[in-house]
């Protein structure tokens, strides 16, 4: 066990803790904040099953974005699907034995890495070259893309250029999960990759990555259109009724 192994072990414990606690607090806040009025963007489903279907379309297909702008939709969708595949592929480093469906995804997961980079670069190009999007971009918007490109390309680098000791990596993470530390292979690219991933996890609950939990709480999407049939009232609004 070298110092770097300890450092990364601590870093990942910290990252998981910050991300989990941060997200939990955020989600709890969203959950607790009432939506006092019915504001689904209509036409909207009139039943909760319909709402589930609408949300599923938003989350899996990015329906609204599709209506909006095919470029952003295409690039964004490719990026997210690729990310999902890549994440699924990475489960192999955390499971023993590896789940069969993860093995099945393995070849797709690898090439998804390229799609991910392509999607991010495309979005970045828009951020730089489309005047309107450049106008609204903050430094953090660009840094987020730096982070993603860094993570994806360091990962691809380890797969295609300078192979890392994946068995060692797996032992390290399985060890982390069981609080039984194993050394992390000493590999520069791997260090970069892991540091960036931990960084992303830490900023998750403090950044625009909150769009991920946020969408589930968006009242314009998650409310059923039934205000005449069901009385909808927030606790703080109910208090007003007591007054008169």
């Amino acid at each position: 066990m070298n110092a770097a192994s300890y450092a990364f072990a601590m870093l990942f414990y910290l990252a998981v803790l910050v991300m989990a606690a941060g997200l939990a607090t955020r989600i709890l806040t969203y959950w607790r904040t009432p939506a006092p009025l019915k504001i689904p963007t209509t036409p909207a489903p009139v039943t909760s099953a319909g709402v589930g279907f609408r949300m599923a379309r938003e989350i899996l297909l990015f329906e609204s974005l599709f209506k909006s702008n095919l470029w952003i939709w295409g690039l964004g969708w490719v990026f997210h699907v690729a990310l999902a595949l890549v994440l699924a592929r990475h489960l192999r480093y955390f499971t023993e034995p590896i789940w069969p469906w993860v093995t099945l995804l393995q070849p797709f997961g690898i090439y998804a890495g390229f799609a991910m980079v392509a999607g991010v670069l495309g979005l970045w190009a828009r951020r730089i070259f489309v005047e309107r999007i450049r106008y609204i971009s903050t430094i953090s918007d660009h840094l987020m893309l730096v982070l993603l490109v860094g993570i994806a390309s360091s990962g691809l680098g380890m797969r295609f250029i300078a192979h890392t000791d994946v068995i060692g990596v797996k032992l390290f993470f399985l060890g982390l999960m069981r609080a039984d530390l194993h050394p992390l292979p000493g590999d520069g690219l791997l260090y970069v990759h892991l540091a960036l991933v931990a960084g992303l996890m830490i900023i998750f609950p403090f950044s625009k990555l909150l769009h991920a939990p946020g969408i589930f709480f968006s009242p314009t999407r998650n409310q059923a259109d039934d205000p005449r049939e069901r009385r909808h009232i927030a606790p703080w609004a109910e208090q007003l009724e007591l007054r008169r």
């Binding site: 955020r26 209509t42 036409p43 769009h211 205000p227």
Partner: protein, 509 residues
């Protein structure tokens, strides 16, 4: 002020315009004076300590409105909404891009309510709430008509209207309100309607209408006021009582009730369907104004509440009345039960006048001379609040079909505008959301650009000469801005104006 207002040129191929920073910096709505502010319970003027009060109000709203809370965090600056706002398209001012409008507040939110913004303000675009920022809020939160078009296209459903409402709510709370909306709200409380039309004047107007209709048709159609025991209470925007072309729709409603044999009444106490409480985002005002309708309904003992042609009023009525004052079904609290006991559960409460008319048509209770509308080639402008904030009938999208069905039932020539700009994608008329005031005329003209472009297409290709709509603000706004684009102002009118032209009043001789 002798600046000549001009309409922007219609574009043959609507491409996304280039940005022109600060293009609309000088188009600012009037600030409410102390009297107006205090009359509705807001501080009179911007005083020492406003900054703290604004931040604390913002914190208060973040705790009360999930929409605001989630929308402040969720935006990823993807830019999908940037070209969706009619005010951006017409003015090219980047701060009129929906996300930029949101960012006026988001930057402040980040500074005071997020870790990242407290630690690294420049990195995440966080700013202190300075007087300059507050002025920008006032400016650009009064260049948004709360039309929700942006919310259709945002991957997270972020509705800039919610942010604008919160912005106005904070401005009001620090004594920096808008004259137009707040003055009108004061009038509703004092007199009963937005126009400040007192009961006796209303009675005269209605008597005049009865005479006009008698002269024109030979039939005694009644326009009753404050008649206890009527079945239907009609609540309609007060513009219907005297403005052109609004009044023609009011005449139409009366004819429908007459032909169907439904007893109805207007109320002088509650002679306004509009509810500007929504525009300023103030729940208590929203509720107080809606309460007048509930009180009138209880007082008059009606069985059904019907709402006339008004966009935001219908959103408030359909989406909010049940919440605000228990007009609707399903409430189990004493407050709502009291009203449910009186209203007839076989009807949807409230009912839109178009729902009522279409239902009668479907049941064969109304007959029409469609040819009477043959001098018109009609198109339909979907009003934003009806399209994206409400429904009619049983199925989603009824708010689009029902008015069109009525038009097809009463007229022969109906043409649709491009599907890119109708139904849920409709463009606001440019005058909604508390912006229908003269000092914003420049904005209103420019904001109408996208609608004018699609209108021009059907005028050129199909000879359209009438644009029907079911909103008092749309009617007033178009009457004013159509001429700037070379159209006749008489081109715009209500759906019930068409009904009025074609309806057969059974007992006519």
């Amino acid at each position: 002020m002798a600046v000549e207002l001009k309409a922007p040129a219609l574009r043959e191929y609507p491409v996304v315009p280039a940005l022109q920073s600060d293009a609309m910096k000088d188009v600012v709505s009037y600030v409410a004076n102390e009297k107006i502010q205090e009359a509705i319970g807001f501080p009179g003027k911007l005083d020492e300590g406003w900054q703290e009060r604004a931040i604390s109000k913002m914190g208060d709203l973040l705790g009360k409105y999930r929409s605001l809370r989630v929308f402040m965090d969720a935006c990823v600056h993807c830019g999908a909404c940037t070209d969706k706002c009619h005010y951006f398209i017409g003015t090219q001012d980047p701060k009129n891009m929906p996300v930029a409008r949101q960012d006026l507040m988001r930057s402040v939110y980040r500074r005071y309510f997020t870790t990242a913004g407290k630690l690294f303000p420049r990195l995440v675009g966080a700013r202190d709430l300075t007087r300059g920022v507050l002025d920008d809020w006032f400016r650009y939160y009064h260049q948004c008509s709360e039309c929700r078009r942006c919310s259709v296209f945002c991957p997270y459903g972020i509705d800039t209207a919610e942010i604008t409402m919160a912005g106005r709510e904070i401005l009001d709370a620090v004594g920096y309100g808008q004259k137009y909306s707040n003055e009108i709200i004061g009038k509703v409380h004092r007199i009963g309607n937005n126009l400040g039309l007192p009961g006796p004047a209303l009675r005269d107007t209605l008597l005049g209408l009865e005479e006009d209709v008698k002269d024109e048709t030979g039939v005694d159609v009644r326009y009753p006021l404050d008649e206890k025991g009527a079945d239907v209470l009609l609540v309609t925007p007060s513009a219907d009582f005297f403005a052109e072309p609004h009044v023609d729709s009011l005449i139409g409603y009366g004819k429908v009730f007459h032909a169907a044999g439904i007893s109805w009444t207007l109320s002088s106490y509650s002679s306004e369907a509009g509810n500007f409480g929504m525009f300023i985002g103030n729940y208590e005002q929203l509720r107080k104004i809606a309460m007048r309708i509930r009180e009138a309904a209880l007082e008059l003992g009606v069985k059904r509440i019907v709402v006339g042609e008004c966009g935001h009023a219908w959103r408030v009525a359909y989406s909010f009345w049940n919440t605000l004052v228990g007009i609707g079904a399903g409430g189990k609290d004493p407050f709502a039960i009291e009203l449910q006991r009186q209203l007839d559960p076989r009807h949807k409460q409230p009912t839109h006048i178009c729902e009522l008319t279409w239902d009668l048509i479907e049941r064969g209770a109304l007959r029409f001379d469609k040819d009477a509308n043959d001098h018109r080639t009609i198109t339909f402008h979907d009003s934003c609040n009806v399209a994206r904030g409400s429904r009619m009938g049983d199925a989603p999208g009824g708010q689009f079909e029902i008015p069109r069905n009525i038009i097809r039932a009463v007229a022969n020539k109906f043409v649709e505008m491009s599907p890119e700009v109708t139904r849920e994608r409709t463009f606001c008329c440019g005058g909604g959301g508390g912006l229908l005031t003269d000092e914003l005329l420049d904005l209103r003209i420019k904001g109408a650009l996208p609608r004018m472009e699609s209108l021009k297409q059907v005028v050129d290709n199909h000879g359209v000469n009438f644009m029907a709509t079911i909103c008092a603000i749309c009617k007033a706004q178009f009457t004013k801005v159509l001429p700037y684009y070379g159209f006749k102002m008489s081109m715009v009118g209500g759906v019930h104006q068409l009904v009025s032209t074609a309806i057969r009043l059974g007992d006519s001789h």
